[in-house]
Amino acid sequence: MVDQLATGSRRGLRPALPLLLPAYLWLTVAIFLPLSAMMFFSFMTDLPLAGKEWAFTLGNYAAFFSQSLYSTLLFASLRLGLEVTLWCVVIGYPAAYVLAKVLKGRSREAIFLLVILPFWSNGLVRIFSWAMVLREGGILDTALNAVLPFKINIDLMYSYPAVIIGLVHSYVPYMVLTCYLTLQAIDDSLIEAGRSLGASRLQVLKRVIIPLSMPGLIAGAALIFVPVVGSFMEPRILGGRTGTFYGTIIEDQFVAVFNWPLGAALSFILLAVVLIILALAAPVLRRAS
């Protein structure tokens, strides 16, 4: 019986191979090859450019452990990732709920468009717009002073909150979209059934809706956490001097210091740490959903 099933599924895969081939080819060329090259670089003393001397070394990886700056920054970046992810849940989940369960028809389309608009705008434009809003004498400062009777000074520019705001704004659409998809798949009659059994709206949310939308929350969190930990654009532009994170250090190695091997090694360490975190979280999250 088991054998039959196994051969059955193998037979089922063979006709699909020609269809899968282009995808695998593309993955090989676009991801696997550059990644292998980077892996190779990370074990070199220098780039093999312009006839420079080079040798294999573990020194780039050792640097991470010998200098506490790198691990400090990695922790700062992980914390940033966690905070941004949490804010995205806090903002994105209710928005997704309203989109999926409250709004209907035209108004839903309109709000949806507003939510994914940041997706369609250029990242740099988005960040510099925030810079204009957040700086002293900027839009937020001027607007608040125009309505408030007392004088306040708002200068969020070049601060940690500015980095958080910029990142949350960039990544919250992921959370809205993934949660929207799972929330929309929840039949309204489940909510009504819960209420008819004596549960308040809040109890239904806690016991039925959130557990059922867990896959969306997890997918959204993974989609946000990973790139935010390695982010460098928002921290650099909105964070200024306070915006030094693990991602900006890696970027420096590639574009400023031209120490590609170190940059590559730091990247792979980040990748490993993120994978370990996801692996550790997987059983917990699986139980939660």
């Binding site: 489940l190 059934a193 209420r195 008819s196 059994l197 549960a199 016991r207």
Partner: protein, 355 residues
């Protein structure tokens, strides 16, 4: 337990009147079927009683207490949905326990109550399963167990058997009726299956376009429909159209059809007569039958449909085709094309105002 009073309830969606001044008194402990074609407002009425939706006008009381301002979770109702609406993230036992657990009952009480409910619906051993591991009939039972375990005052069912096949449906009808009797709960049952309504309920309400067309015990509605719609929607009927004369009507060709006395229609008004197909006697030949029935018609068998325990004959009369159902008693069957005499008594004939 408690009865439910719906008084002059109306509900519109935009320009569409889904419920139009509906008043029904659901007796305490009774089994009431709401019957009507698709879009007639059955679900809408049920949702007003449950509290998922609120009427534009009218009053709803459960156990004598007005519930217009009471939210769903405080109305103490049990509801069974057409698609079962079981929580997919919980086991069968947790589904049933849900209502008790949100109420904060102690764990031990919940466990015994859940087991009792599982036994009541004869699913004793399936508590640990997930809903997707159950068959349609089993899911239906879980939904029912979940709805009654909280001891609601009213049980509301929206076409609960609609998704089941015929045999399972009949089983579940019997089961549902048994459970309802056992706990004696006021039950409001939405269906568009007329047979289901007739066999299961103490009273039936027929809805059409948001209006209550007729309401009463099944026998009364079947034997004395007050409109052509009620006559043809609940069961089958032959309809004659003419004008009132005496206790019956005169057809356009002058034939009179006598109906039971007691009609309040004025002579000469347009009116119809309805006769159930099984009330008509059929005999071969062209002679008046000796049954003493006052209503007779000549005709010719145009078609016969054999259905095992009975046969349906379509008999062509001068101006219309009548349907006659004859029990299979082993007597000789009539052939198509055979000339026949039809006869039936005035008591079997219902006079109804033309719509």
């Amino acid at each position: 337990m408690a009865g439910v009073q719906v008084a002059n309830v109306s509900r519109s969606f935009g320009a569409h009147r889904a419920l139009d001044n509906v008043s029904i008194d659901f007796a305490d402990g009774g089994f009431y079927a709401l019957l009507g074609p698709s879009g007639s407002g059955k679900t809408t009425l049920l949702r007003q009683i449950a509290g998922f939706d609120f009427p534009d006008a009218g009053r709803i009381a459960i156990g004598g207490e007005g519930v217009e301002r009471v939210p769903v979770e405080k109305r103490r109702i049990g509801m069974v949905f057409q698609n079962y609406a079981l929580f997919p993230n919980m086991s069968v036992a947790d589904n049933i326990a849900f209502g008790l657990s949100v109420r904060g009952e102690p764990k031990a009480t919940i466990a015994t109550e859940v087991q009792r409910a599982l036994d009541l619906v004869q699913l004793g051993k399936l508590g640990a399963r997930r809903p997707h591991q159950l068959s349609g009939g089993q899911r239906q039972r879980v939904a029912l167990a979940r709805a009654i375990v909280t001891k609601p005052r009213v049980l509301l069912l929206d076409e609960p058997l609609g998704a089941l096949d015929k045999a399972l449906r009949v089983d579940m009808q019997i089961e549902l009726k048994r459970i309802q009797r056992e706990i004696g709960i006021t039950t409001i049952f939405v269906t568009h299956d007329q047979e289901e309504a007739l066999t299961m309920s103490d009273r039936i309400g027929i809805l059409r376009d948001g209006r209550l067309v007729q309401e009463g015990p099944p026998e009364e509605i079947y034997d004395r429909p007050q409109s052509e719609f009620a006559a043809t929607f609940l069961g089958d009927a032959n309809i004659f159209r003419g004008h009132v004369t005496g206790n019956g009507i005169r057809l356009p060709d002058g034939t009179t059809i006598a109906a039971a006395s007691g009609s309040s229609l004025t002579a000469g008004a347009k009116a119809n007569c309805a006769v159930r197909p099984e009330r008509i006697q059929i005999s071969t030949g062209t002679a008046r039958p000796d049954s003493g029935n006052a209503n007779t018609l000549k005709g010719q068998v145009s078609k016969r449909i054999f259905a095992g325990n009975n046969s349906t004959y379509f008999v062509e009369c001068d101006w219309q085709t009548l349907k006659v159902i004859v029990q299979n008693t082993g007597a000789e069957r009539l052939a198509e094309g055979e000339p026949v005499m039809l006869s039936w008594s005035p008591e079997s004939t219902v006079l109804i105002a033309a719509s």
